[in-house]
């Protein structure tokens, strides 16, 4: 389980997280919604130790991330797949080489690396594009390649950073289906951050809303739809006022 415990983070004078607490239960997909720039991606980066909290912390399987030494942090990162908003593919490598990058750190036999790479690319429907470079494929394909790179590691957790941003509605719906299928087939615990409400309701077992650095509301999709909280309602309904 991932547990955020009174997390505080500021950049200069800007307070981004101001006592953020949330439990991400095993085996479920939790969606974190919130306005652009509200700190959703910052939360994900704390889980893998890319950012250090100013106060509070994140526990993964009961271990405080910012207290881990280098070897322990590497071991933790091997259990977590991170799907970046921009895909963050290595642009000097083909899609297949991108997928192999994480596997190369796991001291697996070459046959295992090849088979996992092929499986991951097949899972996201990119077997035919394995030899192409990121610059030669569409944004949606890049995102799927980023997913393949994450799931090839067979992680316990997958962190999805705005998986549908910048995609057309049809490709977004395809991405939602891929996320659900990935969670079901691999049995992973997922934490998705997004401001795409259609996607949030489609993939989330639980939805939490981040507002002013804290959790404003948390519950199932139905509960969030039925909430009377004006801030949550305004965000869900996309009303400017």
């Amino acid at each position: 389980m991932i547990r955020f415990d009174n997390l505080h983070k500021r950049f200069g004078a800007k307070v981004v997280l101001d006592g953020f607490s949330l439990d991400v239960p095993d085996g479920a997909t939790t969606v974190l919604i919130g306005a652009s720039g509200s700190g959703k991606s910052v939360i994900l980066k704390h889980i893998v130790g890319l950012l250090q909290p100013d106060a509070g912390g994140v526990d993964v399987d009961g271990r405080r991330v910012d207290a881990l030494d280098t070897e322990e942090l590497v071991a933790l990162r091997r259990q977590i797949g991170y799907v970046f908003q921009s895909a963050a593919l290595f642009d000097s490598m083909t899609l297949a080489e991108n997928v192999r990058m994480g596997l190369a750190r796991q001291q697996l036999p070459e046959s295992e690396v090849a088979s996992r790479t092929a499986d991951a690319l097949a899972h996201v429907g990119l077997s035919d594009a394995a030899g192409r470079y990121p610059a030669e494929v569409s944004g949606g394909m890049r995102k799927r390649a980023g997913i393949a790179r994450a799931i090839a590691l067979r992680p316990r957790y997958i962190l999805w950073d705005e998986p549908t941003s910048g995609l057309d509605p049809v490709t977004s719906a395809t991405m939602d289906r891929l996320m659900r299928r990935t969670a079901a087939e691999l049995g992973t615990t997922s934490l998705v951050v997004t401001h795409d409400m259609r996607s949030a309701f489609a993939v989330g077992d639980r939805i939490a809303m981040l507002h002013e650095g804290r959790v404003r509301a948390v519950g199932t999709g139905e509960a969030m739809r039925a909430t009377s909280d004006p801030v949550v309602r305004q965000f869900i309904e996309g009303r400017p006022e």
């Binding site: 990162r77 091997r78 991170y82 970046f84 593919l89 290595f90 990058m101 790179r149």
Partner: protein
């Protein structure tokens, strides 16, 4: 104002991270040869281009200075000494500070702003081992190689200019060249070149990793890397002259 304890802690932390990255041989060693080719071999044309004209100008200048005062074969001495001790390493270093420093800073900076550096970390790679060590080692090894070639070409074009434009014979040029030559002239220049390679590549890597704010940030840090690299070369040049001469 940072306290002494914070500064010591920062330096200690940086040294520890550098040591950890260096020990991760399995990560950086497969990348080393590629970086040596990219940063070193691919830089040879620009270094030789500069060396050709340096040799020509030095021969003409020394003839202008010496004519009527000292024997003409001193042209060989001045060309050889100056290129080996100073102009070969420094001009090559400056040119490579532009080419190599900018290349490294822009590449790593772009990786930083497109989250590729974060992706490396989430895939359990140490960016120091994967990005910094192979580039710094490659530049430290290859700058002296490129500089040695530049010195050779500079002396050759100096000789060619002397025998064709200055009424010197090959024997006279070589006599001057050998008259004040010491083995130290060569290794002094090559040690300087190695230190230039180290500092140029390290600056490029650090500026690249410090990049923020998209394309504008990449441009800013790339410029910084080149400027700091050139300044560091001049400071190191003075340092080595003070220590080794």
């Amino acid at each position: 104002m940072k306290s002494a304890r914070e500064i010591v802690s920062f330096i200690g932390g940086a040294a520890l991270r550098a040591w950890r990255s260096l020990r991760d041989v399995g990560t950086w060693s497969p990348l080393l040869v590629g970086q040596m080719r990219r940063l070193g071999v691919d830089s040879i044309p620009i270094a030789l281009f500069i060396a050709v004209f340096t040799g020509i100008v030095l021969a003409l200048l020394s003839s202008y200075i010496f004519t009527g005062t000292v024997p003409n074969y001193f042209v060989g001495a001045l060309v050889g000494k100056t290129i080996m001790l100073e102009l070969g390493p420094v001009l090559t270093g400056m040119a490579l500070a532009g080419r190599v420093g900018a290349n490294i800073a822009a590449e790593i900076g772009t990786m930083k702003v497109t989250e590729q550096v974060d992706a490396l970390e989430t895939l359990a790679y140490d960016p120091g081992s994967y990005l910094v060590v192979p580039r710094v080692l490659a530049a430290t090894v290859m700058f002296p190689v490129v500089t040695a070639l530049a010195i050779g070409v500079g002396v050759l074009t100096g000789w060619f200019t002397a025998i064709n434009l200055l009424d010197l014979t090959t024997l006279e040029f070589v006599k001057g060249l050998r008259m004040f030559y010491q083995f130290k002239d060569l290794w002094f220049g090559l040690i300087k070149a190695a230190s230039f390679g180290l500092v140029v590549a390290l600056t490029g890597c650090l500026r690249g990793l410090a990049t923020q704010n998209g394309a504008e940030g990449v441009g800013r840090e790339t410029t910084r890397a080149v400027v700091i690299g050139c300044e560091a070369i001049l400071a190191l040049d003075a340092f080595w002259a003070l220590v080794l001469l």
